[in-house]
């Protein structure tokens, strides 16, 4: 554990048995400003709750008397094999990307490094052997973005994940009240000096509005493709209309995301629009999902509704805050264990056995009993 990780408590905590208990430990371990930053959402936090509640409204339709003595959760994404359809989402400014990267390697999954990581792309690429993707923001100064894309590509990052839902930073009122200070983002050393004054509000908001290119649009995908050979995924799509456009511009995949409900409040729960997005892509590109995944049953539901895999963001942060690198590994392994059990109890020994008919959504209910 590094010195920079000053907020990770060393005290012996009771052994958490699920992701929510990791969250509880993280709440105890973190200073309020940081816990609020990670756990909070935009404005009324409707979507924050809804991301999880919408999973709860989906029930399972398990089948019995299937041989489930061997459960195989492994899958591939863009040709890379992972041990389970659970990846590590990019989470900005969490100050400890190393343990996360090592945990990704230990869990044999893919990590998406945050563009706004407190470690550099070089540092993270050295610290682990996991397959790494690189999250991208497009800055007003496009040369900053281009330089980072170039560095990431040369360092062996395997794909870019373009964040499409942050033309401006969402209104996170806890951060405004806490006058959240944005930490130093080492990737930009020497490239860029974003002098800003947080003043009375959120330092992050001030920083974001200074740097982010709000004019980024679909036709800029041509520019982005011109500066890299890496496959590009778009993260932040919530409608079938945009999914069609994403396929048209030739992206390699979509992440259905509302940015952890941190951007636009009253955006729909991601699981509630997954099927619409999957339907629009017609199977041409893989669809991932993040937002609200806290249980193996949640992963199972996302897969049944067409996701290739899910990303987990806050759970990783909670694991990290509660127990450091071991906590991240434990969180991922807990979700894998729960998914494996869900597959066994649903009669699905392989991921391909998980079908639409294994879940019942609210949409299905008028036609069935409940």
């Amino acid at each position: 554990m590094q010195g920079s990780n000053c907020w990770v408590t060393g005290k012996m905590a009771p052994e958490p048995v699920n992701v929510r208990e990791f969250q509880q430990l993280a709440r105890e371990a973190l200073p309020k400003m940081y816990y609020d930053f990670y756990a909070g959402g935009a404005e009324d936090e409707f979507s924050l709750k809804e991301n999880m509640e919408a999973f709860r409204r989906i029930t399972l339709r398990p089948r019995v008397l299937v041989d489930v003595s061997r459960i195989n959760m492994s899958t591939t994404l863009l040709g890379y094999r992972i041990s389970a359809p659970i990846m590590i989402a990019p989470t900005a400014m969490h100050m400890l990307a190393h343990p996360e990267a090592k945990a990704a390697a230990a869990c044999n999954t893919i990590m998406i490094l945050s563009f706004m990581s407190t470690c550099t792309v070089e540092e993270v690429s050295l610290s682990c052997s996991a397959v790494r993707f690189f999250q991208l923001y497009v800055y007003k100064k496009r040369d900053v973005t281009a330089a980072l894309v170039d560095r990431a590509e040369r360092l062996g990052y395997k794909a870019l994940v373009l964040t499409a839902d942050v033309p401006r930073l969402g209104r996170r009122e806890a951060d405004i009240r806490n006058k959240m200070i944005s930490p130093k983002l080492k990737n930009f050393d020497g490239l860029f000096s974003a002098e800003h004054e947080s003043g009375n509000g959120s330092g992050l908001e001030a920083y974001a509005n200074l740097t982010l290119d709000a004019s980024l649009q679909w036709k800029d995908m041509a520019w982005l493709k011109s500066i890299t050979n890496l496959p590009i995924l778009i993260k932040g799509i919530l409608t079938g209309e945009d999914a069609i456009k994403a396929v048209e511009v030739g992206v390699a995949g979509i992440v259905v995301s509302n940015h952890g409900a941190r951007q636009l409040d009253y955006s729909p729960a991601t699981i509630s629009v997954l099927e619409e997005v999957v339907h629009a892509t017609k199977g041409k590109i893989p669809v991932l999902l993040d937002g609200g995944v806290r249980r193996g049953t949640d992963v199972f539901k996302a897969l049944a509704l067409g996701a290739q895999a899910v990303l987990v963001g806050r759970p990783v942060i909670y694991g990290l805050a509660a127990k450091g690198e071991a906590g991240v590994t434990q969180v991922i392994e807990t979700l894998k264990t729960e998914l494996e059990l869900t597959m066994a109890l649903s009669g699905c020994p392989n991921l391909k056995d998980i079908t639409r008919s294994h879940v019942k959504t609210e949409r299905d209910r008028p036609h069935s009993m409940l």
Copy 2:
């Protein structure tokens, strides 16, 4: 700030970050009788809660990768340009129409002066350069109403907003319990003496039942049009049936309103019937909405469902009670900032980009997933 504004506290309050926090400050600043009067609704207060809850049940369908570097919120109403589709609703007896009028000017929006203002139409017309409309009640003594219409027209008020939903005053039980005293309404000085005895109940109710013409009906619109050249909007319409009649009698616009849930309890949330009303008008006249607007996302939802603009009543009062004229400006600016952000995060740089497909209502849900 005037002496009459005795209930506006001078103490330094924490900086509110949203309208609900202004409400909290107002609750602390106001004597209970007045806070109850402004914040309360009719009978069980079902519609009071529902006005806000119905907004919560509508989710957004944001689009990404649209150039949102410039957001334009300006629109026109009856030919008057305003900086954003957020206007100031008429609110009776709030004792301080001046700061409100000045705030309207500062925010470059339209103010609708209450017929039952504690300031005269003359005073308010002098105090600000904002476009002003004048709210109308029709009294049993029609000459009182006619005299006020004449004064408003000569003073440059640009439209009349006829209140159609108060043939009698609704049953606001807090006011009955508090034996709410109706303040002096200066507009009527010399015109009218409404001697009434509040006795054991609400003074307002006694006053209203003494003065208001409960026989007012659609055909009386001809009389009203005969005494003024101003365009007339009707406020208080909640059904398609009445919207059709409004178009037929030639009004200039409709305000979908349940009078802030102060009149008929169990009347529908305004946002839940907006689309019905808009559909009935077939685009012939503009439709406004009030009731439950507390967030920029609420404004966005109303626009997506066909409103030309929204009116805010209680938020203005809360701003006024919390921080005087500056509070009113701050409340309006907060809503504008939130709307601007919502437009940016929804991929709508202009108001005309906001369409029906940018929201999902309960009506849409059986056909989609959630």
Copy 3:
């Protein structure tokens, strides 16, 4: 006030402004065993809550600009004119039928005397000039029932209201726990001695199961009609199927009722099945409703869905317990005032103006916005 009314408090209470506040006063005034008896329902008390909740789920569709300067609430039932469509339901064992009867006269409405009244039919007929109906239970000893029918008819009671939903007494667990004692029922003096032992449970249940004829069936209506010339209403119908049978056997009216949710838990809220029953009767006979009416808006909703009038039971008891005879009058007058206001604010000066299109139920929602 009579000596038998020992549980009616004399202390000065704050002036109640609605029926729920009368209930609160009654709770304070009554011994727990009696309050539980009146306020409680069967088993889980699902239907008890649902009777009221189902009203809340119905919204109004008010019309404006109608002449509502004169509201006429008067109607007729079986040819008898009443001042408003609000009648007094039969409520067993409330120990004070006199004040209730006098209140019915004062309010110019119909009172249905409980078969299990603690006053005799004779006493009540002497104490007031209101139109009186007589509630009927059929006992195993049919001569008891026949004797009472005969007495009621000779005393000028205008109709019989046959209770159809009590072949056995429902399971009211509060009464079982309280070992509720059934009081002396004076109507049966000399006719009938029901010796029973309440033992460990509810004395009422023991009494009921000893006396009530659980074999009573549709064909017994012929017998009942043979012993009286009075019109017969059936109380306790909750399905269209039974409504059709009621019309076929020639009853004069139906009361949609689940016995105040005191009999079969999980029976539907009466307001939720009213329309089904009204539809089945095809307008041939009047349909009344009881259960959950606490507001003038509730009465309005019942009328909009086809009821000729509503009965109020518990509200009358609460008025009586809180303030004696004056309380009953006040409760009825409060409901009338609220109904009158609802009619005014909905644009319905007469009862016949209240139509199906003035309310929106859950059934209507899939076809409209909310």
Copy 4:
């Protein structure tokens, strides 16, 4: 009462009037580890609550004026007559199968002995004259299962109830936290030694995963049928698809069950899928249900939706914990009393009178008023 029943309190408890009050007494009487084990469910306990909530969302459609002076609740299952359609579900490890078996005899119903009983099949067969079925788990060591089938058949058990929903043990987090110790299962004495180490988690989970055959599949039904002449029911079916397979492999009946919500969280409430399963079987075999039955109305609802009978598990445990053998009898008799009353108040003197039209489910609501 036996010495092993150390957790059954002897103190005088208030007389419980319904099953939930028995649960309250059990909670007071049992050590936390055991109460948690019996009362708890898997993971978030969504299905645990939903099993009961789904019953609450079903309302009754009672008919009146039917002769209900004689209620007959008796029915048959596989040719065995029982006094009411309420049977005793198998519940593992409750340490006192004797009182339960005696209660089954006293109540004239069928008891399904748990495979994982703390008493042997021999002991239970000696202690009572009730019809007994035997619950079956298939172990990796199939000879263990075969030996127990043989013993049960020779001892006069009348049917086997194959548990199909436990290829692995569900994740019951209370047991993990409590480090639940699995007691000695006497049926396996001499047959099988399952040495396992509970270590940091649930001892039951460790035991289960060591022993249970997760490869058991539909074609193994042929093997099972080859080793016994007893009729076989399958317990744990929740979909129409599996119900069809069950009919195809020739089982004698189905138990719709989610294992008391102890296995797969977010599996549907059993009552919510009963109709789907019944429909799929086309009446060829009886369908039973367990999960969430706490009231006579629940039993009635299950019958109306097509169940032949229900099983009660936790209520029996609660009765046992609260009051020993007498408690079990009391619980069963309470449910029978409530069912009898429900039948009387619904106008159904016989079980065959209970039809689909006597209940309204959420599925029915769009087509009716509520």
